[in-house]
């Protein structure tokens, strides 16, 4: 249904060379956890963020990463959404710990 192929109008940008660190300076406490799921024999490890100040279920948002895979950028987006009152899942599109394998898949 969903393909990883992309249109490449120019040379794609280089992915970050390392998992960038994002500093959370202040604000609501966000709880993050590994969210594991499986499909078609592949195990995926997403990152689920939620506002730790409430136990009430929250509406969910999926955060889909860039072509190089789930990294701190997508996790930071999930954290931001969690601070706003969502349960935000930064999904893992590749699974099995892979990242950035879709070198022709855009950016």
């Amino acid at each position: 249904m969903i393909g990883a192929g992309g249109v490449q109008a120019q040379t794609e940008p280089a992915p970050p060379s390392s998992d960038e660190q994002v500093t959370i300076q202040s604000g609501p406490r966000v709880a993050g956890e590994v969210f594991e799921y499986a499909s078609g024999g592949t195990t995926y490890e997403g990152y689920l963020a939620r506002n730790a100040s409430t136990d009430h279920p929250q509406p969910a948002i999926l955060v889909v990463h860039e072509w190089w895979g789930l990294d701190s950028y997508a996790r930071a987006r999930a954290d931001q959404l969690a601070a706003l009152g969502f349960a935000a899942l930064a999904v893992d599109m590749y699974g099995d710990g892979q990242a950035g394998r879709a070198s022709g898949g855009g950016r």
Binding site: G3, Q21, I24, H56, P59, Y73, L81, L84
Partner: protein, 210 residues
């Protein structure tokens, strides 16, 4: 989605999806395939239509691409726009969500983001939505348009770097000084930080990629 819906932290009130770059393509194709999302939002997404038979989609759709983004060919973006319109028309809806072309040349997750608005670069004017317009949704997310505005205003204003200059709202929806934000972004970039994104009292410093 089913697995996530079973999590105790997740309410049974619908889901939305936000994607960046490749992920933008993913969420748009989720919408085109008729998945039960309340909203599908793409930021600088690759406009690949991977769904052979677009299905009706009941949720809200937002596409954010820079008109001068060299990584996305305009024709491809138009093709995605047409597919989206078909998708919406199948659900009996008019194309009320609109598009946002912030008129920038690089995606917001990049350090070389051009913060000053560029020209619209030949994009069809009818496809350029009022950047504020998407704060007035025509379709409710999580039941209430008011709730959508309340909940999505801040993410839209702060999660997407290119929107900081054009959709500059604080948590209470008050307009803030655009110029100050740009200056602030420049200052942060000089310090090696892509951007500082604040939600209320909470701020994230996103460092430049190495």
């Amino acid at each position: 989605m089913a697995r996530l819906g079973e999590h105790p932290a997740v309410a049974d009130s619908g889901m939305a999806a936000i994607g960046y770059c490749f992920g933008g393509s993913v969420v748009m194709n989720m919408a085109l395939s008729g998945m039960p999302l309340e909203a599908a939002i793409s930021f600088h997404g690759v406009p690949t239509v991977a769904v052979n038979r677009p299905q009706a989609f009941e949720g809200s759709v937002r596409i954010h691409n820079g008109a001068e983004d060299g990584f996305v060919a305009r024709d491809d973006l138009v093709a995605l726009a047409r597919a989206r319109r078909r998708c919406l028309s199948m659900s009996g809806r008019k194309s009320g969500d609109g598009y946002v072309f912030p008129r920038i040349s690089a995606p917001p997750s990049r350090p070389q983001v051009e913060m000053s608005p560029a020209t619209s670069g030949g994009i069809d004017p009818e496809m350029i939505d009022d950047p504020i317009g998407f704060l007035e949704p025509t379709h409710g997310v999580f039941g209430s348009p008011a709730l959508l505005i309340e909940r999505f205003r801040v993410p839209f204003a702060t999660l997407c770097g290119e929107e900081v200059a054009s959709v500059d709202m604080d948590r209470r929806g008050q307009a803030r000084n655009r110029v100050d934000h740009r200056v602030d972004d420049v200052r942060l970039q000089r310090r090696g930080i892509t951007g500082r994104q604040c939600l209320g009292t909470r701020c994230l410093d996103v460092p430049l990629p190495a």
